[in-house]
Amino acid sequence: MKRRPIIKSVETKYYEQRDALFQGLQNLDRRSFMKVSMAAMTAALANGVEFHYHNFLPVNVVNAAPKPSLGGNTSAVGEAQSQDFTFAYISDSHLYERELNDRFVRQLLRAVDDINSLDPQPDFVLYGGDLAQLGAPEELKMGAEILKSVKAPVKMMVGEHDWFLDMGERWMDLFGEPSYSFDHKGVHIVVLMSVNEADFWTERGMTPEERMLTVAGLDNGIQSRFEVGSQQRAWLHKDLEKYTADTPVIVFSHSPLYHYYKPWNFWTEDAGDVQAILRRFENVAVIHGHTHQMLTNRIGNIHFHGMASTAWPWPYAPEGLPALTVQMNRADPFNASDGLGDGTVHVNPDGLVDKLYNLWNRNPRQVTSRYVNSNGQDAIPQQPNLKSY
């Protein structure tokens, strides 16, 4: 007769281990026993060892120990160690004057509501650019007023729709410098003005309105390709000089800072130069707007994440889509506000980011640093079932 294999339950195993431990101790006399057990306890506590409740074997407990202070000449970072934190974003609202079009206004208000009802509140809120549609003073003013009702502090970024009516005069009056940097909990954050365009309007004798309308057309081929520009690249280089290579860096940019699809200006002309400046850092994340879609890319040490828009979704470009991108489902025209939303970014202690897309009318989608770091092998976000074609 064949012997059936004996399968021990967890409980049985637990008691067997417990008995074995005490059996070994029984051979000692009482005094030695106390010494041994005391020593064992002390040693265990000193090493962070606990006795796990699931079994009677000592288990090492791993704590996410905070990174040691960045020493030396990183006085800019100070003694702040990298902790993890979350910030939220709202992007690409493309506001028209309320009397003309209130749909985009209502959608921005919805995003503001979303962010205001987050609990716990994010550390700050990034506004990703393109607050106005045609750069008009009324549009910018209305946008500024709406953003005042955001509870967390707002970090502004400029987009091309804000800029090319008056070359950013009104925007700068309202919001200050278009490029700046700040430190937050050990992470160095840079906000770039990455939608500069070479002059195409003077030779054509365009009025400011015509120039703005040209830039406002995504597929309008007259406008130049976006660029950060040599002046701002020099500023970026200088700004980053004092940080060591292990400082986590996050770059906020409106254009993607890589080459995706040139005809739609899903493109930064001098992306290569900007990436070269960022290359020496271990962990860099670029959070960008303009593309109005779920977008993920990785080039070397740099992770790129697109932000959703609150105004309208762009389709995926016919070519150039980064391999890492998990598409969002095709927007359903019969479902108002489909493919739109806002979101949050969770910054881990090591500076890598997990991106959450809070897509309205859909389940939220998260693209984690583990997915990007593993080049798409691990933690793969759910695939769409209605891909672009």
Binding site: Y96, L100, N101, R103, Q133, T214, G217, L218, D219, N220, G221, I222, P263, W264, W312, P313, W314, P315, A317, P318, R330, A331, P333, F334, S388, Y389
Partner: protein, 213 residues
């Protein structure tokens, strides 16, 4: 109508005067000026003796592009790429030789040019919230840059939200009425015909797959 007719003649006269100034005898500036003045006189003469053009002909002329004619094409193409029609050069010299004779190069150029103009006109309407009659400043290219994501090859298909099997024009009209907030176009309206031409043009080469979702 009369004014518009006269305007055409003025344009015609202006272009004639430009042409007149090119002759060798007119190299002398004074003579050239006289030539131009004569062109103006000519325009005045024409105006005085002009007959009103009937409304039907005028509107047909305007539908063909009016004064814009082929000028609008260059302007539109500067801004937006439009796929060129399938070439027909291989047909030159072919044909059965009956009534109209064999296909000539002139024929092929005319077909291609006129077809292309229709698609370019469609691009113009597609990108213009005014032409679409949008009350909220929205144009088609805001969801469909370069006519992308329109999938004309999938029509006719049943669309439950429209309650029937939809053709491309039904979807265009739904979009114009809802996201664009303009007035619905008649199926034979020049803007509808232009939009369809452009949308099909941009999808040239995609196999037909009617019913595909």
């Amino acid at each position: 109508m009369r004014k518009a007719g006269l305007m055409t003649l003025a344009v015609l006269a202006a272009s004639i005067s430009g042409w007149v100034g090119v002759n060798a005898e007119d190299a002398d500036p004074k003579r050239a000026q006289t030539a131009r003045a004569n062109a103006e006189d000519f325009a005045a003469m024409e105006a005085a003796t002009a007959q009103g053009v009937d409304p039907a002909t005028m509107s047909q002329w305007r539908r063909g592009g009016g004064e814009r004619g082929t000028d609008g094409v260059a302007e539109e193409l500067e801004k937006h790429k439009v796929t060129s029609p399938t070439g027909n050069a291989h047909l030159i010299g072919k044909g059965q030789g009956a009534t109209y004779g064999n296909v000539t190069e002139h024929n092929v150029k005319t077909w291609d040019r006129e077809t292309f103009k229709a698609a370019v006109e469609g691009s113009r309407v597609f990108h213009s919230s005014d032409e679409l009659g949008s009350e909220i400043g929205v144009s088609c290219d805001m969801y469909h840059p370069d006519g992308s994501n329109t999938h004309p090859e999938t029509y006719p298909k049943f669309q439950v939200q429209l309650g029937r099997v939809a053709l491309l024009r039904d979807m265009i009209n739904w979009c114009i009425e809802n996201p664009v907030k303009g007035e619905v176009l008649k199926p034979d309206a020049p803007q509808m015909r232009a939009l369809e031409a452009y949308i099909y043009a941009q999808r040239k080469g995609t196999p037909l797959s009617y019913g595909k979702r």
